[in-house]
């Protein structure tokens, strides 16, 4: 799944701020952490502010602070501030008006459903655990589960249902 640049910046900023909701960070600090444009990030932070996820603190030492509940706010909540997740297929492909379009729509909808279910089940706290995991030295990391080819299970009877 690909997300727009603004969405990615928003997720990066939210990860940084939600990691310690008491801490305030200047947009320049967040931007330098990820090597991104301060201007672009500022626009993103304003949208996050309007949504009530971050608050801007003015004055000397001002910056941004996370304002939501990181156990409740999900990746989907953040992403949907910037782009829809699951548009049901490509635009302008005559969906709904032809059998081909409707068939494609069903397939795309299945993919969208899974994407939404995944993103809506990952809270910021859970996402930050993944970030921590990525920061650990490789041997300590939980190995990602890889798809296994059932045919590779030599010497076993394979029960399929």
């Amino acid at each position: 799944m690909r997300v727009q640049v603004a969405t990615r910046l928003a997720l990066f900023a939210v990860f940084q701020l939600a990691a310690d909701p008491r801490r305030q960070l200047a947009s320049a600090e967040i931007a330098s952490r990820f090597g991104i444009s301060v201007n672009h990030l500022s626009k993103v932070l304003r949208i996050l502010g309007r949504a009530g996820l971050v608050e801007a603190l003015r004055g000397a030492g001002g910056g941004y602070r996370f304002k939501g509940n990181p156990r409740r706010v999900t990746l989907l909540d953040v992403i949907e501030l910037f782009e829809p997740v699951g548009s049901g297929g490509a635009e302008g492909d005559q969906e709904g008006t032809t059998p081909e379009g409707r068939a494609l729509h069903r397939v795309f909808e299945e993919i969208d459903d899974i994407a939404r279910a995944t993103l809506s089940s990952i809270s910021l706290v859970t996402a930050l655990k993944l970030v921590d995991e990525e920061q650990r030295p490789a041997p300590d990391r939980v190995a990602p589960v890889r798809a296994r080819d059932p045919r590779s299970s030599r010497g076993t009877s394979i029960a399929r249902r």
């Binding site: 089940s121 990952i122 299970s153 076993t156």
Partner: protein, 161 residues
Amino acid sequence: MAMSHQKATSTAPDHGDVRIRAASLSDLAAVVEVDAADTGIAKPAYWKSRFEWYVGRRPDRFFLVAERQQEMLGFIVGEVRAWEFGSPPSGWIFAIGVSPEARLHGLGTMLFDAICVRFRKAGVSEVRTMLAKDDRLIMSFFRSLGMMAGPFIQLEKRLEP
């Protein structure tokens, strides 16, 4: 088998004097009650059959309960399955439930950790479950424990009459 849709929430564990032990037949009524509080349907015959299958019968089947001062607060059920769909032995969790009054104290996490210890002792290194994809709460719970999508995907088809 469907996951019992408990309202589990991951929180910082507050174990107090809770202890986890293997279920016995005397827990049947309490399990039925916890499940009914969650699903809205009392299923005594179903749970009796699950007790017969899981309680004290085999070393690779686990029916655990959490109790405090002889009061049963929650349960988790799972087993080691092998070579279904070509998968080497792995731990499967098919039901978890926590009494509504006992939620938000990390009991679900405690039950999950306890069954994982038993799975490890049984020689498996992966644990799986299956969830309704629109059940955000239970999905968030399992994700907060580090579970992610695995190498299998569930497919189904409506059978024509």
